[in-house]
């Protein structure tokens, strides 16, 4: 019973911390992307595409945590 | 959720069959058509570019020719106008000179005629007077006295008509 509680706690921590890190990273990414776009509006297209790619990479990190969390929750 | 070798094998089989079929029957004809279209578009663009350049050259040539022709026509017109002006001036001057000469000649003629007429007239008047006087003298008076009188009269008459 206790191990189940730990697993739930761990799953919450996993997705929470993964989202924390990914959120910080994504914030930097989008912020820098917007800075670049406002500085050089003619390069908006390629900046946006690279930004979306970067966001997908960062998002994958959060999703790793999410998957681990799912496994921990449904393990029981 | 665990490693399932069977599903992996099925994935490989499906993917490789798809890769083979698409690579063999799908990509090649499609990309061939796409490349042919790209080539045709590129060729058409280049051809259009060439034709545009040619047309521009022809237009420029025509414009140059037109400008040259206009210049020539303008200078020809100007020359013709100057020539006509000169001719006109010359003709007018000639005509004026001719007219002056004719007038002078006519005046001289008139003068000469007049003088001749005057001489003739004075001669005939004298003759007439003398004849008249002869007739009178023959009939009445002595000739010398009357001659003086008649001369006086004629001089008077001459003075009157010429001095007039």
């Amino acid at each position: 019973m206790e191990s189940v509680a730990y697993a739930w706690l761990a799953s919450g921590l996993a997705i929470g911390m993964a989202a924390l890190g990914a959120g910080i990273g994504m914030g930097y990414l989008v912020g820098k992307g917007l800075e670049g776009v406002s500085r050089q509006p003619e390069a908006a297209g390629s900046i946006q595409r690279l930004m979306v790619m970067g966001i997908a990479f960062v998002e994958a990190l959060a999703l790793y945590g999410l998957v681990i969390a799912f496994f921990l929750v449904f393990k029981t | 959720m665990s490693i399932d070798l069977g599903l992996m094998i099925w994935t490989w089989v499906s993917f490789l069959i798809l890769l083979y079929l698409l690579g063999r029957f799908a990509y090649r004809p499609m990309m061939f058509l796409v490349e042919r279209r790209e080539k045709r578009i590129r060729d058409s663009l280049r051809q259009a570019e060439d034709e545009k350049r040619n047309a521009e050259a022809v237009t420029r040539e025509r414009e140059a020719l037109l400008r040259e022709t206009q210049e020539q026509a303008g200078s020809a017109l100007e020359g013709a106008r100057e020539a006509a002006e000169g001719q006109k001036r010359r003709i007018i001057a000639e005509a004026r000179e001719e007219a002056g000469r004719i007038i002078k000649q006519a005046e001289a003629e008139i003068q000469r005629e007049k003088r001749q007429a005057m001489v003739e007239l004075s001669e005939s008047v004298a003759d007439l007077a003398i004849e008249a006087a002869e007739r009178i003298v023959r009939s009445e008076l002595d000739r010398n006295k009357h001659q003086v009188l008649v001369d006086e009269f004629i001089t008077d008459l001459e003075n009157k008509s010429i001095g007039h």
Partner: protein, 239 residues
């Protein structure tokens, strides 16, 4: 969670190896056949001007050729175009077909992305050896400009990073697909409880997530094929 478990449709096994035809296999076949049908419809067309579905396929193929293959592999990379394009289309169709109700996302099972990633890994290594020779391939693990004293550290790191690439490739695709579809399922599960007017909120969430999943499926297919092209270009040493 049981939605993501494999259901055996036709049991099949060779010796001790189980080759069950599960719903994931059937969905993969369906997506392959769908792709085949789309290509059949478009290849049948003659003439210069594409019509109908061929517009989409040509746009996708040209995008793959220009933005993924040629940008990373240069002009000589055209021979890798069929592999990369098939990967893209396979992953894309697998991602999208899972959005239909009662179907299954083949890429949300770890085995399918893992198989694809392993295939990519093997192909990249084989191409590396074929293009550079075995010695040149081995030199790849000992980068130039690094003093030989550091080799005992650098070579294991290089080997680990090489091995980690297919792993991250597989897990990225798998995690995205699993998480996205699971979020949709959680929203839909919420609609089963509560009063009727509150059910609209998770329903809207599910619809928005489903639309987002269309985008994510495209992005993940793009990233999968993009990374494949990048790994290939690293292996064959293209500029």
């Amino acid at each position: 969670m049981e939605h993501f478990l494999l259901r055996v449709v036709v049991p099949l096994s060779i010796g001790s190896l189980r080759l069950d035809i599960t719903q994931a296999v059937i969905i993969m076949w369906v997506s392959c056949m769908l792709l085949g049908l789309l290509f059949f419809l478009s290849v049948r067309q003659v003439g210069m001007i594409p019509r109908g579905v061929r517009n989409i396929l040509e746009a996708i193929l040209l995008f793959i050729r220009e933005d993924i293959v040629k940008r990373n592999l240069g002009l000589e990379g055209t021979c890798y175009f069929p592999f990369v394009a098939t990967l893209f289309l396979f992953v894309l169709i697998s991602n999208w077909i899972g959005l239909f109700p009662h179907s299954f996302t083949a890429t949300s099972n770890i085995n399918v992305p893992a198989a694809l990633a392993f295939l990519v890994f093997a192909y990249v290594q084989v191409e590396g050896i074929r293009r550079k020779g075995f010695l040149g391939y081995l030199r790849h693990y000992a980068p130039e400009g690094i003093p030989p004293a550091l080799y005992p550290i650098m070579i294991p790191i290089e080997i680990i990073s090489t091995l980690a690439k297919p792993f991250s490739l597989a897990v990225r695709l798998f995690a995205n697909m699993l998480a996205g579809h699971m979020v949709i399922l959680v929203f839909l599960g919420m609609t089963a409880t509560g009063v009727w007017f509150l059910k609209a909120v998770p329903l809207c969430g599910a619809v928005v997530m489903a639309m987002f999943e269309i985008f994510v499926g495209l992005i993940q297919a793009y990233i999968f094929s993009m990374l494949t092209a990048i790994y290939l270009s690293e292996a064959v040493g293209a500029e």
